[in-house]
């Protein structure tokens, strides 16, 4: 029962965070709202017995990636004048809702056709470091390596791009 209440709490918080993200004017506010979403998602992961992912979500996402974003926002020292004034924001949001609703409905329909299951804690190391690691390095070795190369390339690319003095016209 507790897990159900926790789910609803986390879900509400994450949705609020997401709304905050898309509605806030200054990116810094949005980033902070997004951290809230990420943290509550981490809580949901733990409810789903994904203990490793719970940790990673906090460390990598809410920790590393978000701090990078926030760092950049601060680094750019964005003044209110630099922020685009989005006059038709509400119109776009409304129109966007109209466009998105059929997608959501379709996805919900698909979900409702899936088998239902409960979320009790699973034993024998489900979602633990060791078992995930075994799957990762045994069955997913090649994708793992590819992702590592991707990260390397992204790193180099980021250095090259950000290091440029001027954009070439």
């Amino acid at each position: 029962m507790l897990s159900q209440w926790l789910f609803y709490a986390f879900a509400t918080v994450s949705v609020l965070g997401a709304l905050g993200l898309i509605l806030s004017r200054h990116p810094m506010n949005g980033a902070l709202w997004f951290v809230v979403t990420l943290v509550s998602l981490a809580g949901l992961y733990s409810l789903l017995s994904a203990s490793l992912l719970f940790a990673l979500q906090l460390i990598v996402y809410a920790g590393a990636i978000m701090s990078l974003i926030i760092f950049i926002i601060m680094f750019l020292n964005i003044q209110p004048a630099d922020i685009p004034d989005e006059k038709g924001k509400w119109a776009y949001l409304l129109g966007g809702c109209l466009a998105v609703i059929p997608i959501g409905l379709l996805l919900l329909k698909i979900v409702s056709s899936l088998p239902e299951g409960d979320v009790d804690i699973v034993g024998n190391g489900f979602g633990q470091v060791k078992s995930v690691g075994l799957v990762l390095f045994r069955d997913w070795l090649l994708p793992f390596e590819i992702v590592s190369i991707l990260l390397l390339v992204a790193l180099v690319g980021a250095v090259v791009l950000a290091g440029k003095k001027e954009m070439t016209q």
Partner: protein, 637 residues
């Protein structure tokens, strides 16, 4: 029946070889060290003389054959054979072609020799002789060809040479334009020739397309086909022989050097049309209606060009119109089925007209290329030999008995009267008077009276012997050639007519001697009146007249050139320009342009969607996704 001889092919080949040798030597050396002109002169003059010798041989060989079998043939090779069409490159010498052969090679030899003097010192002396030889070769192919297709080779070949020689002084645009005009007008005639040939072939050509087979099979032709073929062939003849409506090129053709005018545009090439009609006499004889069209075209051409001739200032133009006029007589003759009379006039005309042109050439040569008769005068003391020979030529042309022109012209007029075509005869007599008038107008103005240009007169002198000897020889021909066909009235036996008889399908117009006497009396009277008026007006010197009214209209040849220009040339050019520059790009290409336009419109419409904002592209994507989702949701039910 026909005898096969192997030297016949040599006759056209010799001048062609001459042309090739002279031409190649000229091309190879003209930019470096020029070879001496004498070499070219010897090379080029030897071929016509050799062909003349061969022509004489042909004549005697034929003469040795029985009258019915007077034909020599030489099939050189199969030219092309496609399906039922088997055309051989072969030659045929029968009395008709042998007569043509004789005078063509004879005048050509003389004119070649004359040209040595006339063209001396010319920059491209060799080129001129190469063209002349090429012309002679083509003309001989025309004359000797054993069928219409081989004749067509020569027919077009002489047209080409005529073009090349008219445009000989190519620096001057008007000369080249005259050349173009000659070639194009000739080609219009050739168009008729080719069509006539084609219809004839598909009617009876599959069993042999040479004259002998055609003559044998001619009876199988439907009358309508004969009419069509004869009319179309006559279109060819009007082009080549400068008849209404295609005569306009010949006066302009005088732009070429004078020997060319003498050889091509007086003696030989322009009579090819007459020769062709005589060749196809086995067809024409069956369609008197077409013959009448031919005769009337001829006599009207004679009339119109005689009118022009009376008002010309250029000595060569006078002679050119007289040539057109005489050609008209010839067509009147062949049109009335008096083929031998027509051909005989071709024969005599070759002598006296070549003589007149060469004489005019001497005058022009002596006066340093002055051609306006109103700048000449009194030349008879300075150029006595030229004067005498030209006088003989003029008397022959004007039809003074007993010069050659008298007999031949008279025979044509006589046959017009005898066959009952009085209209043609009346016009013919009228033209005879006009001919006498303009010929002696020219003689009086040029040779009599007092010099109009003292400076030119002083420097004038008789040309060298190489030019005068041919004049004398031709003058002898012009004097006596008529006696070859002396009618029985004068105690003759009409040898030429008898000679030609096997080749021609002739109706003899038998009539009483009294009619013949009337005809002769009328033409002699016309001659006398014409010469009398000319003497009254020009005999004792006259000033250049100012043309006005009708005479100006006639001087400008009834503005026919302008009319053709407005009717045909300009519209053609305008249409060409319109098609080439407007219609092709915008109308014919229209459907393609329309497709292109459609693509562009399509593109520029859809371009509007490309606003450039990433977000908007995302919106498009989401909209698409959303529509797809909606449709999928619907389909899940």
């Amino acid at each position: 029946m026909a005898q096969n001889v192997s030297y016949l092919g040599m006759i056209p080949l010799l001048p062609l070889i001459g042309a090739a040798v002279v031409g190649i030597l000229h091309l190879a050396t003209c930019k470096k060290k020029r070879l001496p002109d004498q070499l070219y002169a010897v090379l080029a003059c030897s071929t016509p003389i050799l062909t003349f010798v061969l022509a004489v041989k042909v004549f005697f060989d034929l003469n040795g054959l029985p009258v019915d079998g007077r034909a020599l043939t030489h099939e050189v090779f199969t030219w092309f054979e496609v399906g039922e069409m088997n055309i051989s490159m072969g030659f045929l010498a029968d009395p008709l072609s042998s007569l043509m052969l004789l005078f063509v090679t004879f005048t050509a030899s003389l004119i070649h020799i004359y040209s040595i003097g006339y063209m001396a010192g010319d920059e491209s002396f060799a080129k001129f002789f190469a063209y002349l030889n090429l012309f002679l070769g083509s003309m001989l192919i025309l004359v000797l060809g054993n069928g219409p297709v081989v004749m067509f080779v020569g027919w077009e070949g002489v047209g080409l040479c005529s073009y090349l020689l008219i445009s000989y002084y190519s620096e001057d645009r008007s000369n080249v334009l005259a050349g173009n005009k000659a070639f194009i007008v000739n080609r219009i005639g050739d168009f008729g020739f080719v069509l006539g040939m084609a219809f004839l072939f598909w009617a009876i050509g599959d069993s042999g397309f040479d004259y002998i087979s055609l003559k044998t099979n001619a009876h199988m032709l439907a009358p309508a086909t004969v009419t069509l073929v004869c009319l179309l062939l006559f279109v060819g003849a009007t082009g080549k022989s400068a008849q209404i409506p295609l005569y306009v090129w010949l006066p302009d053709a005088m732009a070429g050097p004078t020997p060319v005018s003498a050889l091509i545009h007086a003696a030989t090439m322009v009579t090819a049309g007459v020769y062709m009609v005589a060749r196809f006499s086995f067809l024409y004889v069956h369609v008197p209606t077409v013959g009448l069209i031919v005769a009337w075209t001829g006599i009207l051409t004679a009339l119109v060009s005689a009118i022009y001739g009376m008002f010309q200032n250029d000595i060569k133009k006078v002679l050119a119109y007289s040539t057109v006029s005489q050609l008209g007589y010839m067509f009147a003759g062949v049109g009335l089925a008096a083929y031998s009379a027509g051909i005989f006039h071709v024969f005599t005309h070759a002598f006296f007209k070549a003589l007149l042109f060469l004489g005019a050439g001497s005058v022009i040569y002596a006066l340093h290329h002055e051609q306006n008769i109103w700048k000449m005068g009194g030349l008879k003391t300075k150029l006595p030999l030229t004067y005498k020979t030209m006088l003989i030529g003029s008397l022959a042309l004007a039809g003074c008995p007993p010069f050659s022109g008298f007999f031949s012209k008279d025979e044509i007029l006589y046959s017009a009267l005898a066959s009952g075509h009085t209209g043609i005869w009346v016009v013919g007599v009228l033209v005879a008077g006009m001919t006498a008038y303009y010929t002696f107008r020219m003689i009086f103005v040029v040779f009599h009276g007092s010099p109009r240009d003292a400076h030119a007169y002083e420097h004038a002198h008789e040309p060298p012997a190489v030019m005068t000897v041919p004049l004398v020889i031709l003058a002898i021909g012009a004097l006596f050639a008529g006696f070859l066909n002396l009618p029985s009235l004068f105690g003759g036996s009409q040898q030429v007519t008898h000679w030609l008889a096997p080749s021609l399908a002739e109706h003899a117009h038998e009539a009483s001697h009294s009619i013949e006497i009337i005809a002769i009396a009328a033409s002699v009277a016309a001659f006398a009146i014409g010469i009398f008026i000319a003497y009254r007006k020009f005999g004792k010197g006259a000033e250049e007249p100012v043309y006005s009214g009708f005479s100006s209209f006639a001087y400008h040849t009834f503005r026919i050139n302008e009319l053709y220009d407005v009717l045909f040339v300009r519209p053609y050019k305008a249409i060409g320009s319109a098609i080439g520059n407007l219609i092709d790009a915008h109308v014919t290409d229209g459907p393609v342009q329309l497709i292109v336009w459609f693509y562009r419109q399509f593109g520029s419409t859809f371009k509007l969607l490309q606003v450039g904002y990433v977000r908007v592209y995302a919106i498009y994507m989401i909209i698409g996704l959303s529509v797809m989702s909606y449709l999928l949701t619907q389909s899940f039910k």
